[in-house]
Symmetry: C2
Subunit: 202 residues, 2 copies
């Protein structure tokens, strides 16, 4: 059994990443930060998703000596000059309050007409090995910010986002359908061969 | 006595614009929207300060046939990709709630270190005459977002903004000192000769 650590306390994000990894890498065991001894997690001070994902994955390896994955992701709204971006999780000023973040984003876009509500979800996945090898993959999905939230699956801004070519919001999609099109699914699947190879070597 | 209409209901903004105009144009009488018959004000849907200032000034002329000035302004924070920008007044989702807007901006920048807290106030002043002549002036002042609000003068994000070269926040400055350096003071003073000339013609 090969273990990989996903450097997150976010249960829903862990579920999503584990689901994709388990489907792609036979015999992998995916741990989250709540499964390992606590350590000091560094603040995510970088202004890029890649930078913050690397910070988290490096800290996880340093603390646990396990091969570690970290995701940093967010929603980039064209009419907000690509913000909330790296500040997505704390957009309303309160960390990880999805309801308040969604409410604030809708209010900020209240006067923005449909044709200017384009946005994209971006995800950077960093993978760092105990040997110090570092890898980054980026996943992007373009779409539109809806006029009101729809659906209760997923997390974050999923209820507000309808991917281009889709009829439903991300929060109305099944887990499988979301993973197939999502920024996180794309980035993580691109990383899978690298993770699988590193785990085989151990 | 020559009259000019300033297309705002914001009493503090009107005070500031009137103060500058009266100091520069002898005999001018400055009215605000609360001094004229109500009319349907168009939504500020443009994504530039110039565009929104023009919308407001044109609507004022159409409704009153008076020479009309309008200001659209906001704070552009580097770490937020120049947002709140045109959404400054409604950044927290509630129109013109300065306290909530300031609180939200501080919370969004909570993890941003001093050296990345650069920002600028931008102001576009539009002047439209009953003959249909249209003029735009832009004023900019660069500065830093403080770690906490300071002072009680001014309005909007003044407590959070310290202009480059200044010791005090905009809300700690006297009216005269603020007008001398502010984005609004700069834009409006550049517009003064145009307004004075148009008023002399009437």
């Amino acid at each position: 059994m090969s273990q990989v650590l996903v450097a997150t306390h976010n249960a829903k994000k862990l579920t999503e990443l584990r689901r994709i990894l388990v489907a792609e890498i036979s015999g992998v065991e995916v741990l989250g930060l709540d499964d390992v001894a606590p350590y000091d997690e560094p603040p995510e001070v970088e202004n890029t998703f890649e930078g913050n994902a690397l910070i988290k994955a490096r800290a996880a390896v340093a603390a646990t000596s396990m091969p570690s994955l970290a995701d940093d992701s967010g929603i980039c709204v064209d009419a907000l000059n690509s913000m909330p971006g790296v500040l997505s999780a704390r957009w309303s000023g309160t960390p990880r309050d999805d309801a308040r973040n969604n409410e604030l984003l809708l209010a900020q876009l209240a006067d923005i007409p449909d044709e200017r509500r384009h946005a994209e979800f971006r995800c950077a996945v960093a993978f760092v090995t105990p040997d110090g090898d570092e890898f980054i993959e980026i996943g992007v999905v373009r779409g539109t910010i809806l006029l009101a939230g729809r659906g209760s699956n997923g997390f974050g801004y999923d209820p507000l986002f309808r991917a281009d070519g889709q009829t439903y919001s991300n929060a109305e999609l099944s887990a499988d359908d979301k993973d197939r099109i999502s920024h996180r699914g794309r980035a993580l699947r691109d990383m899978v061969p690298t993770v699988a190879k590193a785990l085989r070597r151990r």
